[in-house]
């Protein structure tokens, strides 16, 4: 009994220590100064907020809850509400860094998101702060080229060919990432850099399932420093999918059209056969009447 009490106290003490340590750790999340000052090269517009929202709802809500509702999952350290003080006092760079690198239970999203997508999320989190004024990097003297892209598919080598131009000139060393858009998200096809001809090649898995004609909706992003561009296109480059009814082989029960031919023949031949015989008899009754006249 006495012993037990001793254990209890020790356990309690340890728990307190852990809790304090955690609180400390949280306040302690150090972001390298350089990262802390990093600024988004993109102006947070409604498009970004919207994309950020989709990403947030898919991947963050489970822990952080709905921003502004303080309904984050209770855990230690607490994830916190993105609309709250904790988040909003930080710099854009700090938030960007924490989402990208993660710590402890906070997952690391470096591999899940491109930089611009991380900025989308920051834009979304900032959209809950009315007082927020975005600080943009000093752009004086910087010319941001406007990219144009063209996509094609080389079926001999199964590669997606991306050409990046700015005012008719091919753009080298542009980062290109290509995705296939699905109903609920996008699938990364691959990333590449443009060569001196402004061309990047992305491998396409030939077994990728497309629609009936092998079409997929391709989205390609090109980014280089502050420049960025996006293009979406339906392209025939995947394996055509033959659509089968989910109840194929069991379709005897569905619509009338689906009735198997043997069943139709059996049914109608027997029904009409029997009724033919019956009508023959009914009309034959006239003969009985005629037979009277003979007598």
């Amino acid at each position: 009994m006495k012993n037990n009490k001793g254990y209890h106290i020790i356990i309690l003490f340890c728990l307190c220590f852990l809790a304090v340590a955690n609180v400390n750790a949280q306040s302690d999340w150090q972001v390298p100064a350089e990262e802390n000052e990093k600024l988004s090269p993109f102006l947070f517009d409604d498009d970004m907020v919207l994309e950020g929202r989709v990403a947030y709802e898919n991947l963050c809500t489970s822990c952080h809850g709905t921003p502004g509702q303080d309904d984050f999952t209770p855990m230690s350290p607490p994830p916190g509400d993105p609309a709250g003080e904790q988040f909003q006092v930080q710099s854009d760079g700090s938030m960007f860094y924490k989402i990208k690198m993660g710590r402890g239970t906070m997952p690391k999203f470096e591999d899940a998101f491109e930089d611009d997508e991380l900025w989308n999320i920051v834009a979304y989190i900032r959209s809950f702060n009315e007082d927020y004024k975005q600080e943009l990097p000093n752009m004086e003297g910087v010319v941001i080229p406007e990219y144009a892209m063209s996509l094609s598919f080389d079926e001999n080598v199964d590669k997606l060919v991306v050409k990046v131009f700015a005012e008719e000139l091919p753009q080298p060393e542009v980062s290109v990432s290509a995705y296939v858009m699905g109903t609920f998200g996008k699938h990364l096809l691959g990333k590449a850099q443009t060569n001196e001809l402004g061309i990047a090649y992305v491998d396409v898995d030939p077994t990728l399932p497309g629609d009936e004609e092998g079409k997929v909706n391709v989205m390609v992003k090109a980014t280089k420093e502050f420049a960025r561009a996006k293009i979406e296109k339906h392209m025939v480059m995947a394996k055509p999918t033959e659509r089968h009814s989910a109840i194929e082989g069991r379709h005897i029960w569905s619509t009338d059209r689906m009735a198997p031919i043997w069943l139709k023949i059996t049914f109608f031949v027997s029904v009409f056969g029997v009724w033919f015989a019956l009508l023959f008899i009914v009309f034959g009754l006239r003969n009985i009447k005629k037979a009277r006249e003979e007598a």
């Binding site: 005897i252 029960w253 619509t255 009338d256 689906m258 009735a259 198997p260 069943l263 139709k264 049914f267 109608f268 029904v271 029997v274 009724w275 015989a277 019956l278 023959f280 008899i281 009914v282 034959g284 009754l285 003969n287 009985i288 009447k289 037979a291 009277r292 003979e294 007598a295």
Partner: protein, 442 residues
Amino acid sequence: MNETIAKGHFSEEQIDKDLLKNVNWGGKFKLWMGFLTVSLIICLYYYYQQLQNGLGVTGLHDYVSWGIYISNFVFFVATSLIGMLVSSVLGMMKVEWVRPVARIAELVALAFAMVAGLIIITDMGRPDRLLNVFIHGRVQSPIVWDIAVVVTYVVISGLLLYIPMLPDIALCRDKLNNVPKWQQKMYKSLSLGWNNTAKQFRLMNRYTRMLLILIIPIALSIHTVTSWLFAMTLRSGWDSPIFGPYFVSGAFVAGCAAVIIAMFFFRNNYKLKEYITADHFDRMGKLLVLVALVYVYFNINEIIVPGYKANTADAKHVHEMLYGHDSVMFWLVQLGGLVIPFLLILFKPMRKPLPLTIIAVVILAGAWFKRVLIVVPTQLAPYYPIQNVPEGWTGYSPTTPEVAITVASFILVVMIITVLAKLFPVVPIWEVKEDMNHKNNK
């Protein structure tokens, strides 16, 4: 063999007189019909309620959506099958003794088949949509097969009653001068100018033979298809490949019992003791033993095979019957309504008219409840457990409107038989005469 037909050597006039005497609209008939009509109207009031308020007035619910309406339908279809067995199978095998009772069997068959087609509508929540079954019915659906075959069977039964009756209708036309005008006119047009020429008999026999052959597959399919309404599903207790023959054999039991009851009724009320003899009852009793044996055999199969497989859903269904929730009704039906009666009929004294009729009543009641046992318990044991539903949904008990509407269907059957038996002779006169002549010439 010959003692089954009129024992005394009656003259033809005597036979005409005896067998035509029931064709009249006496006071007794009017009283009886009045009673039936009043009862029917009372029952129909409940149907009016159901029309107004929908199937909510019944005990049916999401789990048991087929209750006594469907059981009753199955029972009616079953009972109507007897016409085929007696007039066709036995008739074509030239079993002489069935001839005087064949028409009674046909009457029973026609009445039950007609009402079976009608009673199914009472199970519809929206009878105004009945036409949709025909417009949008799918060939794959056993319900569509059932409709096709029930309608066909009603027509064949009607023809099979009518065509061999032509000489008797002609007799009514010639002999019955004191019946109402419309009735005389009816006989005149229905008799198709029959005047007993050889050619007319030839034609009549030809058509009758065609019908007798045709009715065998149709009658078998009518009840097989009815069983398929159940057996084509994947539910424990219904999903059985022997359901077709199982139903057909059960149908003969119910049908024989119904015919025996009708025979007893006509024999006593129409004073036909000389024509429907004790020997007929004896033979019908033996026939009943035969069909009951076949049915018992199918019952054993239906119980032992699934019941042996300890832990399947089908086994649970069987155990529920044997010693579970439905066991009281099960044993009452199986022992009281089938095994004990059929053992009793093995003894000759039990095949005398009165005891046999009483046993037939018991068997017929058992047959009705047997249909309830086939239809209802399966629905109370779905593969997914019944959860989070109103308490009443874990069982089923029919409500007053349901019972009244079911009673109405019986009243309708009795009315149809009564009226037909008042319009036409219930024992085929010309066949009795023919038999007599045949015998006398020997």
